[in-house]
């Protein structure tokens, strides 16, 4: 019984963290698919989301209004990022683009320091946070919010990409940019759209985690890197697999932290990343396929 409740407890926190990683990882995969850019600044969108939302709530805005406004603001930041940094360099090589997004990511961190300083902030939970007990394991309503919001967002994304006109246009750019252009779709516009959308989702991830683990200027880096691991597990191009990967990493980390050592959880995730890169770089869930040279 004791062990069961401990396992359940770790599972809860793993799923919570995993759902945050999932939200950020979706953003990665969308941007990577549409623009071919591995966006190291993705975690910073989550940071901006958390910090801006906390500031807006601090100004007296009701939570829901603050959340919506935050997502809009961060989407605009994402759009500016695309126009000012990615678009002018769209013909550069892969390492150049990677380093550009790294540059943007540390610039974002620096901006956050200048605005909010280095101290951590907290956001009140979305609803009354009375713990729910299941088999002696404690589940906080905020954890349910995190998992629920991420699942809803995932389904919304699936709907957007498969059922809506704009979503289909973005998907068309992923499948074949050239053909999409011939059909009258403007890939540059889709790139702008997909990056600002991913920024918005990233912001949502930051807002959801802020009541759980607090927020500070430096939170984006590790969140972003963990979401990378998740995206790589999914082979970088497969969004549903990346979401599975995110939950896998979340659970792996929470069990490492709970049963072994909290200092090692980052190393374990990245050891997993290296293992996958070395052994199965096309992702854990990929079907065997011919390799493009």
């Amino acid at each position: 019984m004791e062990i069961l409740s401990q396992v359940l407890q770790l599972l809860f926190s793993g799923l919570t963290v995993g759902s945050i990683y999932a939200l950020i990882a979706i953003g990665f995969v969308v941007i990577y698919n549409v623009t071919g850019v591995l966006n190291f600044a993705q975690g910073e969108f989550a940071m901006f989301g958390a910090m801006i939302c906390i500031s807006l709530v601090g100004m007296g805005l009701p939570l829901l209004a603050a959340v919506i406004l935050t997502i809009l603001i961060v989407s605009v930041i994402g759009g500016l990022f695309e126009r000012l940094a990615i678009y002018p360099a769209r013909n550069s090589s892969v390492p150049t683009l990677i380093i550009i997004t790294i540059g943007v990511s540390i610039a974002f961190r620096g901006i956050a320091i200048l605005i909010w300083g280095t101290q951590p902030y907290a956001l009140q939970p979305f609803t009354e946070n009375n713990p729910i007990r299941i088999l002696n394991a404690v589940l906080l309503p905020q954890n349910l919010w995190a998992i629920g919001i991420s699942l809803v967002s995932v389904f919304a994304m699936v709907y957007f990409f498969n059922k809506t006109y704009i979503g289909k246009a973005v998907t068309a750019c992923v499948v074949n940019k050239f053909a999409a252009r011939l059909m009258g779709i403007n890939p540059e516009k889709m790139s702008l759209l997909s990056i600002s959308m991913s920024a918005g989702i990233g912001a949502l991830a930051g807002i959801v985690i802020a009541p759980i683990s607090g927020a500070s200027y430096g939170m984006g880096m590790m969140l972003g890197m963990k979401a990378f691991v998740a995206a790589v597990i999914g082979g970088l191009t497969n969004a549903p697999a990346a979401i599975l990967g995110a939950f896998l990493i979340g659970i792996l980390e929470s069990f490492t932290e709970g049963l072994w050592s909290s200092g090692l959880k980052d190393a374990v995730s990245f050891a997993m990343l290296l293992l996958i890169l070395f052994l199965k770089p096309e992702g854990l869930f990929a079907k065997a396929s011919g390799k493009r040279v």
């Binding site: 990677i98 540059g103 890197m225």
Partner: protein, 352 residues
């Protein structure tokens, strides 16, 4: 590549390094300020480190987001052997370089099968894992509390225990490093590396053993980093894991990119710009933003990195070379060093 271009690359004259060494030698006599000296020493550490990284990124076109790991390996190895085992710092330095080379070899074999995005992620992962090791192997490293009491370095009883003395030691290493790298670049290895940067498939087809050269240059850059780390440990006498985290790797990347990854002098320029700009920002920004604390200067480094890559993909050093060339008023026309569409850190690989 036309002939003037070749001439530029194979410029083997010693004039540049000699003038450079002369200016460096005289500097402490002209500017008698411990503050300036300590800044120059910091530039020296980074220049030495970036020297190796420039070979890897600029000449071979391979990205590394984990080089702070090797910097740390050198620092901790040297610190442990000299402070805990009582060995000579010089032995520790050598041992650090050997260990860094061995680790680079072992890690390099699987890592360099990867390209593009995956290579960047794998080196990043390596950096995080080594950083965690520094943090968690408390018996060796002292963990987050840090490693205290590292002895200063001495040669035949002459101790490099103040800034004035250490300044000459570190810059001697930097100049030797530059000469060494120049020889490498002008050798068969250098040509092979350049061909890999141009196109991996093509160099493979003409019989260049890509894997071997990538591994060699990776090991070499690891040894440079380790050497710099050892020297740093013996200078500062106290180290902790946060000096070698992912952010440090990113700082190194900034230096290499800003200086220009396609010239060995880029490492010195990049390190100098990074350290000097950091110092200037630390004193100027608080005047505008009184509440600014922590590493706020990264805003400017980040923007500088982006702007450099978009508008000057070959970094500052070609611009500087242009300036020097204009200054000399050479008879022959100097070719525009920034060939359109060529990036400093271009890799021949695709994204797959």
């Amino acid at each position: 590549m036309d002939r003037t271009d070749l001439k530029k690359i194979y410029n083997n004259s010693l004039a540049g390094p000699l003038i450079f060494a002369g200016v460096l030698f005289l500097l402490p006599f002209v500017v008698q300020s411990n503050y300036i000296l300590s800044i120059m020493i910091m530039i020296g550490f980074y220049a030495l480190l970036c020297n190796g990284l420039t070979l890897l990124m600029g000449y071979a076109g391979q990205i590394s987001l984990g080089h702070a790991a090797f910097y740390g390996i050198g620092a901790y190895m040297s610190a442990y052997l000299s402070a805990k085992m009582g060995l000579s710092p010089w032995l520790g330095m050598l041992a650090g370089m050997i260990l860094a080379a061995i680790i680079a070899y072992i890690v390099g074999i699987p890592i360099f099968k990867l390209k593009g995005h995956y290579l960047a992620l794998a080196t990043l992962g390596f950096g995080v894992i080594v950083y965690t090791a520094f943090k968690e192997l408390k018996d060796f490293t002292g963990g987050l509390n840090g490693f205290f009491g590292i002895p200063t370095i001495s040669l035949f009883g002459f101790e490099f225990n103040n800034d004035f003395r250490f300044y000459y030691l570190i810059w001697l290493f930097v100049i030797l490093g530059i000469l060494f790298s120049r020889n490498i670049i002008h050798s068969r290895i250098g040509r092979a590396l350049r061909s890999i940067e141009g196109s991996e498939v093509a160099s493979d087809a003409v019989g260049v053993n890509i894997m071997k050269y990538k591994l060699q240059v990776f090991m070499l850059s690891a040894m440079f980093a380790s050497l710099s780390g050892s020297l740093y440990a013996h200078y500062i006498t106290f180290i902790n894991p946060n000096l070698f985290d992912v952010m440090t790797s990113i700082y190194l990347l900034i230096m290499v990119v800003i200086g220009g990854a396609s010239s060995i002098w880029g490492s010195v320029i990049g390190a100098a710009v990074f350290v000097l700009l950091g110092e200037i920002l630390k004193s100027v920004v608080p005047l505008v933003f009184p509440n600014a604390g922590g590493e706020f200067e990264i805003v400017f480094f980040g923007l500088l990195l982006v702007v450099t890559l978009i508008y000057m993909p070959n970094g500052l050093s070609p611009q500087l070379e242009k300036l020097i060339a204009r200054f000399r008023r050479n008879k022959e026309l100097v070719p525009a060093p920034v060939a359109a569409g060529r990036d400093g850190v271009e890799s021949g690989g695709d994204q797959s």
